[in-house]
């Protein structure tokens, strides 16, 4: 187990390095890379541009920039933002609590899919199950941004049940402001969990060992808890890990729509304004989260399933 974790952590570091190198390369060779904004600004003279380029280290050859940049990101230093006098890391980290709040809330709402999926499986073919299946199919066919706009339009703009805009002051307004974006951000997670848990539970319900448990005369609750759910929820542990990073990336759209002051919105703004240090910093965090989520999923899988061996 320890050897497995050490090996996986080393692999993860290598993976993060590869992803970041590729990202750096792509951003620098793509049209509209770091220089584009400067070059397009008619107010800047050639000398001014050269001075700015020098202050950001952009005048050096790409491989030199890369080596310097690599050395700095190890210590979480992404340099100054292009659009703002603050360090990129500081601008990103200011937004972390907001995104974490939204992400966590939506994660928790998404986990409601577990009991919903179990309910559907246990009432297979009955009204409740059919209803859940139809709603999840429709839900996964509609893009989140479209649902979000409809919800804003109906609940906030027309019915005025919920405020539009950013949450401020007091627990209740905070909660009310959080709940709608979080619920909408969670649709994907909620649907995944529901469908996944339903399928897994149905699969386990038809297993021989569930029949054995019933034949032993155990109470229904015992059978369900230890023989059905204990097995059907194993793959969910992996899903929990894999979905971790999607909350940050998924939040780009939701945060933009709800004007949520989080990392997702900052990412969008930075992309529009070609603020490369900020962009790369957010990508760095997402990459780390993705790799971490996968690692946690693999470790978690081994903890809940004794058949998994780490060698």
């Amino acid at each position: 187990m320890r050897r497995f974790i050490i090996r996986r952590v080393l692999q993860s570091i290598l993976l993060i390095w590869a992803v970041m190198s590729l990202t750096f390369l792509l951003i620098n060779i793509a049209p509209g890379g770091p220089d584009a904004i400067l070059a397009q600004n008619p107010k800047l003279t050639k000398d001014q541009i050269a001075a700015i380029r020098e202050s950001y280290g952009l005048n050096k050859p790409l491989y030199e920039q890369y080596i310097v940049w690599m050395g700095r990101i190890v210590t979480f230093d992404f340099g100054r933002s292009y659009t703002n006098p603050f360090p990129a890391v500081q601008r990103v980290f200011e937004r972390v609590p907001n995104t974490a709040e939204l992400g966590l809330a939506s994660y928790l709402i998404g986990m409601l899919g577990i009991p919903i999926g179990i309910y559907a499986a246990r009432h297979r073919g009955k009204f409740g199950d059919n209803f859940i299946r139809v709603v999840t199919v429709i839900g996964s066919c509609m893009p989140v941004w479209w649902i979000s706009l409809m919800v804003i339009f109906i609940l906030a703009a027309t019915l005025r049940w919920f405020p539009q805009g950013e949450g401020q002051g007091g627990v209740l307004p905070w909660f009310v402001n959080l709940i709608i974006p979080a619920a909408l951000l969670s649709t994907g997670t909620l649907i995944s969990f529901t469908r996944f848990v339903r399928a897994e539970t149905l699969e386990v319900l038809s297993q021989d060992y569930v029949r054995t448990a019933n034949a032993k005369g155990l109470a229904a609750g015992q059978v369900n808890r230890w023989h059905v759910f204990r097995n059907s929820l194993i793959p969910v542990v992996t899903l929990l890990g894999y979905l971790l990073p999607t909350l940050v990336s998924g939040a780009i759209i939701t945060e933009q729509i709800f004007q949520w002051p989080g990392m997702g919105r900052l990412f969008y703004q930075s992309a529009v304004s070609r603020d490369m240090p900020v962009l790369l910093c957010i990508l760095y965090i997402s990459t780390i989260l993705t790799v971490l989520g996968t690692l946690l999923a693999d470790i978690g899988y081994g903890l809940v399933d004794p058949r998994v061996r780490y060698d």
Partner: protein, 342 residues
């Protein structure tokens, strides 16, 4: 004395889109205390469904639609769910066909053995674990005290079936239903498992209903044998009687299709021609009629009921019933020499 288990006119059916499958159709039989009843038949003959019906574990869309299952005089079909769960595992335990899939992969063997002990006998976890070790010893698992903490995937198929047997014996049930307990195991292990079952039965005095598709398996073990075909019992007799004097053409066919050590090798093995009938579309008369070498005209239209026939063993006192219109014996020339099925 009333038998331990008496099944009367059991009918279990599965509703499907294409119609009603009569998996078990009007089956009656009994098992005495401490007795071994063999149930023989090919796949789809209703053996397993009969067993599952007794424990009321038939899964939807299957349903017991009629009959009585009297266990020590109580009709199991009339018990509520809670009382039925007290019968399962405690009074009647079951051993399943595939030991590789019949144990929960994520719980230790000890934990799974403990469950019925805690549920039915009210043991504490510690007591149950101790008892589990004893049970594992009883079924011949070495290092039981350590293995009790192992997971099923640490055991081989034969060892897992031993665990299943230990689990079935845990609460000292009065009846164990063994549904093809050796089918999934290789031949040498099969013999070991059967020996173990026999030994434990002798020690505990529990009755066994041994379901199998292989006559050879029941031959040495069963006191009496039911032969099932297409949801019906077609012949029932004591083991000796059945092997010495088979009277139903289907049983004869089964016997002719297994090799015997005590006969010369000149006799060829003869498979039963044709295939079993579609349970969705059973013939009006005898279900075996289309494959039968001895069928009388009335077999096409009248379903034969079980009737007693004279026995040749135990001084003619042993029981022997067949569901057949005809009076043929093993070795009689066929009335309709069966055509080769292409």
């Amino acid at each position: 004395m009333a038998p331990l288990l008496e099944v009367r006119n059991l009918k279990t059916q599965f509703k499907s889109k294409d119609g009603v499958v009569k998996a078990v159709d009007d089956v009656s039989f009994y098992i005495d205390k401490g007795e071994t009843l063999g149930v023989v038949g090919e796949s789809g003959s209703g053996k397993s469904v009969t067993a599952m019906s007794i424990l009321r574990l038939v899964q939807a869309p299957g349903k017991v639609v009629d009959g009585q299952i009297l266990f020590e005089g109580r009709d199991l079909l009339k018990l509520d769910d809670k009382d039925m769960r007290k019968v399962r595992g405690k009074e009647i335990a079951m051993i399943f066909q595939d030991p590789m899939t019949s144990l929960n992969p994520v719980l230790t063997v000890g934990r799974q053995l403990s469950e019925p002990l805690i549920t039915h006998l009210g043991l504490t976890k510690t007591q149950a674990l101790k008892e589990s070790v004893d049970l594992l010893k009883m079924v011949g698992i070495p290092n039981a005290a350590e293995r009790v903490h192992s997971f099923p995937h640490h055991f081989s198929g034969g060892m897992r079936q031993r665990v299943m047997i230990a689990m079935a014996l845990a609460c000292r049930p009065k009846l164990i239903i063994a549904d093809e307990p050796t089918t999934a195991l290789d031949v040498t292990i099969q013999a070991q498992i059967l020996e173990l079952l026999e030994k434990l039965q002798a020690e505990t005095g529990t009755a066994v209903m041994l379901i199998t598709h292989a006559l050879g398996v029941v031959a040495g073990m069963a006191d009496r044998i039911n032969v099932m075909y297409a949801g019906h019992i077609v012949e029932t007799a004591t083991s000796d009687e059945l092997f010495d004097n088979p009277r139903h053409p289907y049983t004869m066919g089964l016997l002719k299709s297994i090799p015997r050590l005590d006969e010369s090798r000149r006799g060829r093995l003869q498979p039963i021609k044709g295939s079993p009938p579609d349970l969705l579309d059973l013939p009006k008369g005898c279900p075996f009629v289309s494959r039968c070498e001895y069928a009388l005209p009335q077999a096409e239209i009248i379903l034969p009921q079980l009737r007693q026939v004279p026995s040749v063993t135990d001084g003619g006192r042993s029981e022997h019933w067949i569901a057949c219109h005809s009076e043929v014996k093993m070795g009689d020339p066929p009335v309709h020499p069966a055509q080769e099925v292409a």
